[in-house]
């Protein structure tokens, strides 16, 4: 992470963060997104598109976690032996 600071050669007077670093971060972000990961044409994918897709992806992740925790709570509520089962299953993994 400290390599980022050493690359700020083209710091215009006021901003210490250069376009380069921001573009690097956005490219890194793009590689995390499942939809934009395969098409590595990073020149053609604009930063706004990456950010928009990131927002959508995070919202989807939130929704999925909510859904999963609902299912988990139902499972735990319905079975009395769920606790023992949980612990047992984790121990045998």
């Amino acid at each position: 992470m400290s390599g980022r600071r050493s690359r700020s050669r083209q710091s215009s007077g006021t901003s210490r963060i250069s376009e380069d670093q921001i573009n690097d971060l956005i490219v890194k972000l793009q590689q995390l997104l499942p939809e934009l990961r395969d098409s590595r044409r990073s020149d053609k994918v604009s930063a706004a598109r990456v950010l928009q897709d990131t927002c959508n992806y995070i919202r989807n992740l939130h929704r999925e976690v909510d859904d999963l925790s609902e299912r988990l709570s139902e499972l735990l509520a319905n079975t009395d032996t769920a606790q023992a089962a949980l612990i047992r299953s984790l121990l045998t993994q």
Binding site: M1, R4, R5, S8, S12, T14, S15, R16, I17, S18, E19, Q21, I22, L25, I26, K28, L29, L32, P34, A47, A48, L51, Q52, T54, C55, Y57, I58, R59, N60, L61, H62, E64, V65, D66, D67, L68, S69, E70, R71, L72, S73, E74, L75, L76, A77, N78, T79, D80, T81, A82, Q83, A85, L86, I87, R88, S89, L90, Q93
Partner: protein, 231 residues
């Protein structure tokens, strides 16, 4: 070289060879092992991290269940149960992050605030307990990030707008400058993906374990139903 052949059983020779070995070993040890440059992203994708998280969340869930049984379950909140599990999941995730990121600290401080408010309602307490100070005091221990006073780069309104949206989605990033938000986002996304993997594993484990148990109170059959988003 053949000087360290195990066939020779003479004590002096073996001592010398072992001495030679030790000096060799010492020389190897002197070079410090290169620091393993596992980034935080690789960490989240590792198996070990997922197991640590699973342990954390199972413990949190156990505490949840115990507290739920203590309060008489006269009105079992099906809606509230899911929310409680979700909060426990995020809290365990923040704990597993070891407080190195903004979002994890924000989640933890939120949980502490709620707990303090709850305790205040039960019995009057001192308003500024030391735990709060320690959480915000960790800012000093945070590894240094480049701070931006006036951000000229990427001043495009579209990008700025999206980053603002993004910062509202990620806990603790509402007033952070652009590079901080981007960095937190990458960590947050990978952490969430791990959380989803772990939750799926736990659900399938509990589901299969409870289905093999004597089906006394089993009514819902959720086993094998996995809606996976991450392909």
């Amino acid at each position: 070289m053949e000087s360290i052949s195990p066939v020779m059983n003479q004590p002096t020779r073996t001592m010398m060879s072992s001495g030679y070995d030790q000096s060799r070993r010492k020389r190897k040890k002197k070079q410090p092992p290169p620091p393993s440059q596992t980034t935080s992203l690789q960490k989240w994708r590792s198996e070990k991290q997922q197991q640590i998280y699973s342990m954390n969340i199972v413990q949190a869930l156990r505490e949840l269940r115990i507290s739920a049984d203590n309060n008489s379950s006269a009105t079992p909140h099906p809606r509230g149960g899911g929310i409680a599990v979700r909060d426990a999941a995020y809290r365990s995730l923040a704990v597993t992050a070891r407080g190195r990121t903004l979002w994890s600290r924000a989640i933890l401080s939120k949980a502490v605030k709620v707990k303090l408010r709850f305790r205040k309602q039960n019995r009057p307490r001192i308003s500024n307990p030391p735990s709060m100070v320690s959480i915000t005091g960790n800012n000093r221990l945070r590894k240094k990030r480049a701070t931006v006073l006036r951000l000229k780069a990427k001043g495009l309104p579209a990008v700025q707008r999206k980053v603002k949206l993004l910062s509202r989605l990620i806990p603790g990033c509402r007033k952070q400058p652009l590079p901080v938000v981007l960095e937190e986002t990458t960590d947050y996304i990978v952490a969430m993906e791990m959380q989803i993997r772990a939750l799926n594993a736990i659900i399938s484990a509990v589901g299969s374990a409870s289905s093999s148990a004597p089906p006394l109170m089993l009514e819902t059959g959720h086993d094998g139903e996995e809606t996976h988003m991450l392909g």
